[in-house]
């Protein structure tokens, strides 16, 4: 056993959290870039697998029922492979087979749509596809697969809500789920890997939705200044408001994890500071999301998550330049306000909470 294992076990033993001899630790999970490689390889394999299936079974490909049955058979086969084996090769095989099956099923779901299909039915199909992906995310026992299906499910539901004329608000739902998953990553012993995978999927989905929805929704920005779109019940500012509420909820949950009651001055001040930051960044799509992801990453000592948050923040600031509904002057003032606010909060923190006070508490 490595020194790290022994040191950790001894620390836990000294704190009376564990007892007895150090157990055998499971083999470490792969780092994120290996999982990424596996995911990419699975993707390519599925593309070629589908191509082979379609070429060989050309006659059956014209019958939607046959395609649907074949797709589900492939997914079922993948489920059994992934459930029973932890070998890398079989993991990849299962992933590739599942992707191929999923593509066939999705093909059938969207096959029935035509140019004269009512919008409500189109929206229902997208929601059905999202539900299908969500079920797969919960059921298929593979990390990369869960991330992929969760990501897909969130995107599909987001499109469905757009077609149901309820856009802009789904990102707050995704963020709420993401925050809950990351802050309860270790709470349920049997579901740690599942929760972690779903959390990653939701994170990628949130970054995607928040990054692209303002551009595809007729160029609508967020914030108070965006013109009201009478086609939709929900407006962009509602989405940002809900995201702000989720950010406040996250801060409250963070303090709860440290057993700090809400009436503590530091909690109240932190919530107030969060409210100020959320309000200041109301007009700038994505800033709240990026900062929340970075904070969640730090909370869980998760460098990958922090990296995703940092990259997303840089992306949102760059993308903000191209949003057309607000002038560059307004965007400049918004960024200035948020920047000054953050530096001001830092100054207050350094001056009123000295290092000594932090150590003493």
């Amino acid at each position: 056993m490595s020194a790290t294992h022994s040191q950790l076990w001894q620390k836990l033993k000294d704190a009376n959290l564990v007892h007895g001899e150090m157990p055998r630790f499971e083999q470490d999970g792969s780092p994120w870039y290996i999982k990424f490689l596996l995911g990419m390889a699975g993707w390519w394999a599925a593309a070629f697998g589908l191509s082979f299936v379609m070429l060989v079974f050309t006659i059956f490909m014209k019958n939607p029922i046959a395609v649907f049955i074949l797709g589900n058979l492939l997914i079922g086969g993948a489920f059994f492979i992934l459930r029973q084996s932890e070998q890398t090769f079989l993991e990849q095989l299962g992933f590739a087979i599942s992707l191929t099956g999923q593509f066939l099923v999705m093909l059938v779901i969207f096959h029935a749509l035509g140019s004269d299909t009512p919008k409500f039915n189109v929206a229902l199909n997208w929601a059905l596809a999202g539900l299908f992906q969500a079920v797969l995310a919960l059921m298929i026992p593979n990390f990369v697969h869960r991330v992929f299906c969760t990501w897909n499910a969130a995107i599909l539901f987001s499109v469905a809500l757009l077609l149901f004329e309820l856009p802009y608000i789904f990102s707050s739902v995704v963020m709420l789920l993401m925050v809950w998953c990351w802050l309860h990553e270790y709470t349920y012993a049997k579901h740690i890997e599942k929760i972690r995978a779903i959390a990653y999927g939701l994170t990628f989905a949130l970054v995607s939705i928040e990054g692209f929805v303002p551009f595809i929704s007729g160029g609508a920005s967020s914030g108070w200044k965006t013109p009201v779109n009478i086609e939709y019940i929900t407006q962009p500012w509602m989405g940002e408001l809900l995201l702000g509420c989720v950010a406040l909820y996250m801060v409250w949950l963070l303090f709860r994890q440290y057993k700090q009651p809400i009436r503590q001055p530091v909690v109240m001040l932190s919530l107030f500071a969060t409210l100020l930051v959320v309000a200041a960044s109301f007009e700038a799509t994505g800033l709240t999301v990026g900062m929340v992801i970075v904070l969640l990453g730090f909370m869980g000592s998760n460098r990958v998550l922090m990296g995703i948050g940092i990259v997303s923040l840089l992306f949102y600031v760059s993308a903000y330049y191209y949003l057309l509904e607000t002038t560059l002057l307004d965007k400049s003032l918004t960024l200035l306000a948020v920047g000054v606010l953050l530096l001001g909060l830092r100054w207050l923190m350094l001056h009123f909470i000295s290092q000594g006070e932090v150590n003493a508490r």
Partner: protein, 320 residues
């Protein structure tokens, strides 16, 4: 820290840590940051994000007022900001992180100033000259700051000037012209940068940045891989040259990052490069489309599985 995350998860899954003691276990193992860690993190986070947003605000402001502002006002605005940033670097104390961020800000603003100069006076300079001159002008600051982020900005500017130069002229020297010149140049620049960086980081602690060396490896590795793939598709007379250099690159990558300074990311990148090249190699020699699909599928599964197994074996060795 990722390893600790995995170990704690392993203990929880085995039921060795009672559910009500999980928060304490996370605290003891420092997975849950303590107050000192939060203080330190928030200090840096608020500083960095605040600085980035201020620079962005200035950029947006200049873009908005572009047509209305007088020349003098434009230049004065940017130059005052540069002076303030340099002053902040000196005042805060040159070894502090905030000082280095201030110098980074000054370096970025210098680029804004050069763009402004080029736009205002219509010098007729090519875009590559802007970025190349920017890189040259910030070089003294890059040396002084001893900040790995600033070095990466410098290298990014060199890469960008190289790409723009080749796109403009297409030739480096009169006697050396190939269609793949862009990728050869990127490979050479970033491979040399990676070697020098790794060598210098052995004595200079501030250069020990994992993400920087990995980024350099990604750019140089991707460039040489594209060159090899191109030689497969194009089947040119000089096809053997990229292969030889690619094999040499992989050999050095393996020797250094497997034996001397183990880094799983680099080895995974090497596997990806080999897999990509072999995929294109196979595709060149199979004609039937159904067999191609099956062959590719089989290759990806076999090679991907073998690579993954080897990388996990290396990971296990690194952790023991």
């Amino acid at each position: 820290m990722n390893h600790t995350r995995f170990l704690i998860a392993s203990l929880i899954k085995q039921g060795l840590i009672p559910e009500d003691k999980i928060p304490d276990a996370l605290r003891v193992s420092k997975l849950t940051p303590d107050k000192t860690a939060w203080f330190s993190f928030l200090d840096r986070f608020l500083l960095v994000v605040g600085a980035v947003l201020l620079v962005s605000a200035l950029t947006f402001f200049i873009a908005y007022n572009w047509t209305e502002m007088s020349r003098l006002a434009k230049f004065a605005l940017v130059e005052v900001c540069i002076v303030l940033a340099v002053f902040a670097y000196w005042k805060v104390g040159t070894q502090q992180l905030s000082a280095k961020i201030a110098l980074l800000t000054a370096s970025l603003l210098l680029g804004v100033l050069l763009a402004l100069y080029g736009q205002t006076y219509q010098t007729g300079a090519d875009p590559w000259q802007l970025f190349f001159n920017w890189a040259l002008l910030i070089l003294p600051w890059v040396f002084i700051a001893q900040f790995h982020v600033l070095w990466m900005v410098f290298l990014f500017l060199l890469n960008l000037s190289l790409v723009l130069y080749i796109n403009t002229f297409g030739i480096f020297f009169v006697w050396f012209f190939t269609p793949e010149l862009l990728f050869w140049s990127l490979f050479a620049l970033n491979a040399v940068a990676l070697v020098v960086w790794e060598y210098m980081s052995q004595t200079k602690e501030w250069l020990q940045s994992v993400w920087a060396t990995r980024l350099l490896a990604v750019v140089s590795g991707a460039s040489i891989t594209i060159l090899v793939v191109n030689s497969i598709i194009g089947a040119s007379v000089y096809a053997i040259v990229p292969w030889l250099i690619w094999l040499g690159y992989l050999g050095v990558l393996y020797a250094y990052y497997r034996l001397k300074k183990p880094d799983l990311f680099m080895l995974a990148g090497g596997c990806l490069s080999v897999g990509t090249v072999m995929l294109f190699f196979i595709g060149q020699y199979i004609i039937d489309s159904a067999i191609v699909s099956l062959a590719f599928l089989t290759f990806i599964l076999v090679f991907g599985g073998a690579s993954s197994k080897w990388l996990k074996h290396v990971q296990k060795e690194m952790q023991s």
